[in-house]
């Protein structure tokens, strides 16, 4: 039963997904399946096996405890995601990177 909504992508993070499959449990439309293969983290990620059935209700997103999954409906949503990344995440990671750099050089109170 194909949906009226055209969903572009259901992104599932290799970095964040721990493979609890609450998304699969939450999906009323039977969109997601467990992959056959393990990713580099050793997790068999869920993937959108039947994306044409997705109605973007986002229950899978809501019940994902790891912020690993997002239903990307269209280009606008994709653009928003990148904007948020640029505006909020990048400056923060910059702050973290600066810390790492200073620490790498060694801290002064442990010198001599």
């Amino acid at each position: 039963m194909a949906s009226q909504v055209k969903v572009q992508q259901i992104a599932v993070s290799d970095k964040l997904c721990k493979g609890c499959y609450l998304c699969i449990w939450a999906c009323p439309w039977d969109v997601l399946e467990i992959s056959e293969e393990r990713n580099w983290r050793g997790v068999k990620k869920p993937y959108a096996a039947r994306i044409d059935q997705c109605r973007a209700c986002r229950l899978c997103e809501w019940y994902c405890p790891d912020f690993a999954l997002q239903v990307i409906v269209d280009e606008k949503e994709k653009r928003e995601l990148l904007e948020v990344e640029e505006k909020y995440e990048r400056p923060w990671l910059e702050r973290v990177r600066k810390r790492d750099e200073i620490i790498k050089e060694g801290v002064w109170w442990l010198e001599d």
């Binding site: 499959y21 609450l22 809501w62 019940y63 405890p65 948020v84 909020y88």
Partner: protein, 283 residues
């Protein structure tokens, strides 16, 4: 297509310390869902509210919950989150102080601070994540462990009755009370929104799934999906529960908004009035 290797949800990109994620919770742990409830509530409340919100937590798995937010946050001592938060709110009444605690943190070691925060009716939002046992230490009995349950410190079955947090806090003087489970995503999120805006002590108990310990020891459902299914099937809305007998309610989670009263003055308002009275009096 967005590459999936380093992908993070938009809420994580906006609000969270993604450099230390994935977070330390077990796969399927409900605390991540509680994090999302909080973030979605603030996404709806708007940037201005978020900018003046600070978080305080105690010790235990639940204590880690707000530490992933890019906000001022204090990871305090076991049970003492509310004492820290009380002073924070009393010193800066303009801030939204959100405290996340577990059942042991709030009702066990920190029980005294909990009832006194409620008694003062200080404007703190307490999110109490209940998983029915101590999980960080490896599955021991907590004040919410059901009677008869076997945990690592109740090998013959728990002989202690448990706390009803809602009744406890109602008697102590809290002015907003709600209980949900991680299954009740939208309702819990709405309650958090209400609680943040509420003037007075607000507590929201969220029963969440701990597949690793509560799932294995108490519910006999080690899969987080089965636990959520169990929450769905065994929670009864407050209105429906009123017409049921105690036998029918045994072992059920009664969810809903328990209390919302505005007739008790908030503590920091009282403090401000006190200051007015004291000023002008000599040394």
């Amino acid at each position: 297509m967005i590459p999936e290797a380093e992908f993070e949800h938009v809420l994580a990109k906006k609000y969270m310390r993604t450099e230390i994620m994935p977070h330390a919770f077990c796969p399927g742990c409900g605390l991540g869902i509680i994090e999302r409830m909080i973030l979605m509530a603030f996404e709806e409340l708007g940037q201005e509210e978020w900018d003046r919100t600070v978080f305080v937590s105690g010790i235990g798995c639940s204590g880690w919950t707000p530490l992933y937010f890019r906000r001022d946050a204090a990871h305090t001592l076991h049970g003492r989150a509310l004492a820290f938060a009380t002073a924070l709110k009393a010193s800066r009444p303009d801030l939204n102080v959100v405290v996340v605690m577990g059942d042991g943190d709030s009702m066990g070691i920190g029980g005294n601070h909990l009832i006194h925060a409620a008694r003062r009716n200080i404007g703190i939002t307490a999110i109490i994540a209940t998983n029915m046992l101590y999980s960080l230490t490896g599955g021991q009995m907590s004040p919410t462990t059901p009677e008869g349950a076997r945990t690592n410190t109740t090998p013959y079955g728990n002989i202690e009755p448990n706390f009803d947090l809602m009744e406890l806090l109602k008697a102590a003087g809290a002015t907003y009370l709600a209980r949900w489970t991680t299954y009740h995503f939208i309702q819990a999120k709405n309650s958090i929104k209400k609680a943040v805006k509420h003037k007075g002590f607000a507590a929201i108990e969220i029963v969440f799934q701990c597949p690793t310990y509560a799932g294995r020891y108490i519910l006999n459902r080690p899969d987080p999906r089965d636990m959520l299914q169990w929450f769905k099937e065994n929670s009864i809305p407050l209105g429906v529960a009123k017409n049921k007998s105690p036998e029918e309610l045994k072992g059920k989670i009664i969810v809903g908004e328990y209390l919302h009263r505005t007739d008790r003055k908030e503590y920091t308002e009282r403090l401000r009035e006190l200051e007015e009275r004291a000023k002008g009096k000599g040394r």
